[in-house]
Symmetry: none
Amino acid sequence: MVTRKAARQAETEVDALVDRLRAGGLRRTAARVAVLAELVASVAALSHGEIAEILAPMGFDRATVFRNLTDLTSAGLVVRRDLGDHVWRFALQRDGEADHGRQHPHLLCSDCGTLVCLPDVKVKITPARGWKRAAKMEVQLKGLCDICAS
Amino acid sequence: MVTRKAARQAETEVDALVDRLRAGGLRRTAARVAVLAELVASVAALSHGEIAEILAPMGFDRATVFRNLTDLTSAGLVVRRDLGDHVWRFALQRDGEADHGRQHPHLLCSDCGTLVCLPDVKVKITPARGWKRAAKMEVQLKGLCDICAS
DNA sequence: TTTCCACTTGCCACTGAGTTGCATCTGCCT
DNA sequence: AGGCAGATGCAACTCAGTGGCAAGTGGAAA
């Protein structure tokens, strides 16, 4: 049950995203709007397969969904991410998300292979001899995730 | 051109690995020895496809290679790793690597896949809310190694 | 408003990495 | 040596991702 206010908010967000789409030289098409609407409505990142399944009853072909996810990612509106299971998942490129890999460390579970965001863990790197590329590194911790540790 | 000393060293390493295999309840089979020998001989992590291609002329089937990589990984002799291209790559779980991994951080080059020790780089982890497992984590930085960056 | 053209789509097929079933082979314990 | 459970080769399959082509269409220009 979606409230009227939330529906209007989502629509506004889709409109804003479409503006960015157009500004990037891409056409406003029904398929793209539908993909963006699904990403706006979803809390979690969605795989191509999941989105394609949702949009199929509306007549959108999965090849189209795939191409559009790729286009939207190239255009910078969408980011794709792998959680360790070799499935790309797509989510909106929220403001400031461009450096997601560098914003916080990730835990790679050495047992199940899941990649978990650790936004509350701070990591400080002290490089030796003015090693300049440290700031561009992503930090990954390797150990057991909460599920495998329990 | 492999020197005689290097060849003997590799053979000794394979023998040691086979001992661990047997200790773990797995059989010593020609296919498994061949897989281990390839991993011993390789500097970089190898994909299933790469190993299968090497071993095919010796009569080893790729399904067997796949199964054995999985078995060796489950047994703890081999570790698998993804460089971001959705291909699993396999490498030996080196002796002392469990502790080695925690002694200093490593750089995993996102281009060539080389794992480089960074003994002079200090990393301080500040976990949130008394997260007790932080001390048991290995730290891995992901970015370009010196060669790929130049 | 109409035209037009480059972009987009649906349909179909393909690729590559990974995986499974089954009959047969084989390592190793007794 | 015998026997049995594990391992293998062969063949086929799954799944996520991807590409070709004819037809459809968004939007700029006239």
